[in-house]
C-alpha cells in the first residue's frame, strides 16, 4: 500500500447534521483504502497562508463509477481550514493524499464485534462494519455524541448492525450519558469478543478501560483509532506523537500517522497523553530540561 497525492475533483459537499461531508474523485486512494485509514488535505489553495494538512478518516469509498474511484470523509468546521473545505463547490479541485496510516486489523475468524463511535469520529466504523460482516462477524454498534445533531451515522448504523445503542450528553437522543456507560451492558448482552472504537481521546480511554474490565476483569481486545493533531500526515513532521508501548514492552513517542491511527487500546499510555513518560525511550536525554533552543526541530 503506497499513498498517493491526487489533485481530486470535488463531487459533492453536503451538510449532515452538525457536520460536513465531502466526496472527492481520488483514483489511487479509493482503490487502496482500508477501514481506519485517513486522508490529508491541503487547504487554502496553492498560494494560501495555511500550510498544514488537515487529516480526516475515510468514511467510505466507491471504487468504480462514472468518475473513477471516489473518497468521502466527514469533518466539523472548527477553524479557517475546515471552513475553507466546507466552502468548496463541485468541480473545485483539492489536493488530497492517501490512503494513510494503519487500518483496523480484522479478526481471522468470525467474531462478535462491538463498534463504538463518538461524534463524527464514527465515520470509519461503517466501512469497518462492512468488512467485518463480509467475514461473517456479528456487528453491534454504540454511537454517542454531545447532542442529537452531533450523532453521526445513526441511520446507517440501524441498517447494518444487529443492535444499536445511542447516548447523548444532554439526553436529546438515546440514553443520557456516555458510550462507556452503556458499553458494559452491550458487551454482556452480545457476548462481544472484540471492541473497535473511534472518537475523542477521552472516549477511547474510557472504552479501553471498559473493555479491560469486561468478563470479570479477563478483558477483551480493543482497537482504537486516535485523533491527534497532525501537520503532514505522512510521517515527517513528528508532531502527532503519543506514548505507546511496543512489542518489547518499552514506551516510545510514536507517530499516530505512520504507526497508527489504529492502536491496541491497552498499548496507549493514557495516563501520560500529552506528556513524555519518564520511562519512555529517550526521555532521559531530555532531562534536565534543555534551555530553549533556536531551530527547535
Amino acid at each position: 500500500m503506497t499513498p498517493v497525492q491526487v489533485q481530486g475533483e470535488v463531487l459533492s459537499v453536503k451538510q449532515i447534521g452538525a457536520y460536513w461531508s465531502m466526496t472527492v474523485v481520488a483514483s489511487g486512494i479509493a482503490e487502496q483504502a482500508q477501514p481506519g485509514q485517513f486522508v490529508a488535505l491541503a487547504v487554502g489553495g496553492d498560494d494560501g497562508a495555511m500550510l498544514l494538512r488537515r487529516a480526516f478518516s475515510i468514511y467510505q469509498v466507491a471504487q468504480r463509477g462514472v468518475y473513477g474511484g471516489t473518497v468521502e470523509f466527514v469533518f466539523s468546521v472548527a477553524g479557517r481550514g475546515t471552513a475553507w473545505l466546507a466552502s468548496r463547490r463541485p468541480h473545485d479541485v483539492v489536493d488530497i493524499v492517501g490512503p494513510l496510516g494503519r487500518p483496523f486489523a480484522l479478526p481471522k475468524e468470525p467474531a462478535r464485534c462491538v463498534l463504538v463511535g463518538g461524534g463524527y469520529g464514527a465515520a470509519p466504523l461503517f466501512s469497518l462494519s462492512d468488512a467485518l460482516r463480509k467475514r461473517g462477524c456479528r456487528v453491534d454498534v454504540v454511537l454517542g455524541a454531545a447532542t442529537a445533531e452531533r450523532l453521526f451515522g445513526a441511520l446507517d448504523a440501524k441498517r447494518m448492525a444487529a443492535s444499536v445503542a445511542f447516548t447523548t450528553d444532554d439526553g436529546s437522543y438515546g440514553d443520557q450519558g456516555r458510550v462507556s456507560d452503556v458499553l458494559p451492558e452491550v458487551i454482556e448482552r452480545t457476548r462481544a469478543d472484540v471492541i473497535y472504537a473511534c472518537g475523542p481521546m477521552a472516549m477511547l480511554e474510557a472504552v479501553t478501560r471498559v473493555a479491560s474490565e469486561s468478563y470479570g476483569g479477563a478483558g477483551i481486545p480493543v482497537r482504537v483509532a486516535v485523533e491527534e493533531s497532525m501537520a503532514c500526515g505522512v510521517g515527517v513532521c513528528m508532531t502527532c506523537v503519543l506514548p505507546v508501548i511496543g512489542d518489547d514492552g518499552k514506551t516510545r513517542m510514536t507517530r499516530s500517522c505512520i504507526d497508527g491511527p489504529v492502536f491496541a487500546g491497552d498499548r496507549i499510555r493514557w495516563d501520560a497523553l500529552g506528556a513524555v513518560p519518564a520511562d519512555a525511550i529517550g526521555a532521559a536525554a531530555m532531562t534536565p530540561p534543555a534551555p530553549t533552543m533556536t531551530g527547535a526541530r
Binding site: M50, L51, V234, V236, G282, G295, A296, R297
Partner: protein, 355 residues
C-alpha cells in the same frame, strides 16, 4: 561576475537542457534541491512522492548520540504562512540511524546529508567520527543546540562556540566529506558567525535554521506549545532567510551556501540562488505538499530556462551584480512588434437638429 550575460528569451534553452549541477565544497550534485533537516525524517516517508535519488539529497533529521523522546505535545502551531515547532529533536540515536536509516538511503541511491546535533563539542566530535566509513555525502552541523557545558548558551549564537564545534567536526569527519554549519538567524551579526565557522574550516554554510517565536492560545490563555517557544518556519521567514544568504554571500562570496527558509516554489528557490545559494533546501512546505522537493526542482529548472540560463551555476549570486549589467546583450526589447499606425480620429459631421 562581470562576464555573465543575461540572455533574453529568444535563445532560451529548453528546461530539460538546463544543467542543474552544482558544487558544495568537494561534493558535486546533479540537482540543487535538498530536503531540509527535520522536515523529511530520514527520507523514506517521502519516497512515495518524490524520486529522491534525482534530488541533490536528503538532509536527515538531526542525529544525536543517544535516542531522544522529544518534547510533550502540542508540538506545533500553524501561523500565517508558516508554523511554529517544538519537537525537541526526537530521534533514534546514531546507532539505530546507522543500522536502519542510512542503509535505506544508500540502497535507494539517495544522497545522505547527515545532520548532527550535540550538547557539547565532544558529542559533535564523536558523532562526526561515527560517520567514518559510512555512505555520507555531506555533514550538516546543527549548531542551534544549547551547550550543556556553557549554561545552555546556544552554539550558533556565539562565534567561538560555533567555531569550536565546526573545528571538532572537521577533525573527526570522514575525509573528503564536506562539513556545512547550519546557522541560526537569531543573532546580531550572522556574518560574524559565518566567518567564524569558515575560519574553523567549514566547507560551507546552511542558511537558515528557524527563528524563535511564541503562539498564545486565546482560549486557554497560555502558550500553545508545550515547549512554550518554538522555531518559526515556512514562507513567513523567507525574506529573513534571503537577507541572511545575501549578507553572507556578499561577505564570503567563495563559500558555498545552502539556502533554506520558506521555499515553496521554483521562483522562491531562484531568489535564493540569485542571492548566492549554490543549493537550496525545502522544509516546511513538504508538510503542505509532500512532493514539493521534486516539484520545486522542476519549477526552478523551468524558471532558469525561461530566463535564458543554460546552467544553474551562472545564476548563483547574480542578484549582487551592479544594476548596469542588467541590460540584456544584443537583444531586441521585449514586445518589439511592428508598430501599428497611430489611431487618427475620423472626421465627424453633425446634422444639427432643426428646432
Amino acid at each position: 561576475m562581470g562576464d555573465v550575460v543575461v540572455r533574453t528569451t529568444t535563445d532560451a534553452p529548453l528546461p530539460a537542457d538546463v544543467d542543474m549541477s552544482t558544487s558544495l565544497g568537494r561534493l558535486d550534485v546533479g540537482d540543487p534541491v535538498f530536503t531540509a533537516s527535520g522536515c523529511a525524517a530520514a527520507g523514506r516517508e517521502l519516497a512515495p512522492f518524490n524520486d529522491l535519488s534525482a534530488l541533490g539529497g536528503v538532509v536527515t533529521k538531526s542525529i544525536q548520540l543517544e535516542p531522544r523522546s522529544g518534547r510533550p505535545t502540542p508540538r506545533m502551531a500553524e501561523t500565517p504562512s508558516g508554523m511554529l515547532n517544538s519537537i525537541g529533536l526526537q530521534g533514534p540515536g546514531i546507532d539505530s540511524f546507522l543500522d536502519k536509516d542510512l542503509p535505506w538511503l544508500a540502497d535507494n541511491d539517495v544522497r545522505a546529508a547527515v545532520s548532527i546535533a550535540g550538547g557539547s563539542v565532544d558529542e559533535f566530535a564523536r558523532l562526526a567520527g561515527r560517520l567514518r566509513g559510512q555512505p555520507v555525502a555531506l555533514i550538516e552541523v546543527n549548531i542551534s543546540c544549547p551547550n550543556v557545558e556553557d549554561r545552555g548558551q546556544v552554539f550558533a549564537c556565539d562565534p567561538q562556540a560555533a567555531a569550536a564545534v565546526v573545528a571538532a567536526v572537521k577533525r573527526n569527519a570522514p575525509a573528503g566529506v564536506p562539513v556545512f554549519a547550519k546557522l541560526s538567524p537569531d543573532v546580531t551579526d550572522i556574518v560574524a558567525i559565518a566567518r567564524s565557522c569558515v575560519d574553523a574550516n567549514a566547507d560551507g554554510l546552511s542558511l537558515i535554521n528557524t527563528t524563535l517565536g511564541i503562539v498564545i492560545d486565546p482560549d486557554t490563555m497560555r502558550p500553545t506549545l508545550a515547549g512554550v517557544t518554538g522555531g518559526l518556519s515556512g514562507p513567513a521567514i523567507r525574506p529573513l532567510a534571503l537577507r541572511c544568504v545575501w549578507q553572507v554571500h556578499a561577505a564570503l562570496p567563495d563559500v558555498p551556501i545552502m539556502g533554506i527558509g520558506g521555499i515553496r516554489t521554483g521562483l522562491d528557490a531562484l531568489e535564493f540562488v540569485l542571492a548566492g545559494a549554490s543549493a537550496v533546501q525545502v522544509g516546511t512546505v513538504i508538510f503542505n505538499d509532500p512532493s514539493a522537493p521534486s516539484r520545486i526542482s522542476a519549477e526552478l529548472r523551468a524558471a532558469l530556462a525561461a530566463r535564458g540560463f543554460g546552467r544553474l551555476r551562472d545564476a548563483i549570486g547574480l542578484a549582487h551584480r551592479p544594476p548596469a549589467l542588467r541590460v540584456p546583450e544584443e537583444a531586441d526589447p521585449p514586445g518589439d512588434e511592428p508598430a501599428e499606425p497611430e489611431p487618427v480620429p475620423r472626421h465627424v459631421s453633425f446634422e444639427e437638429a432643426s428646432s
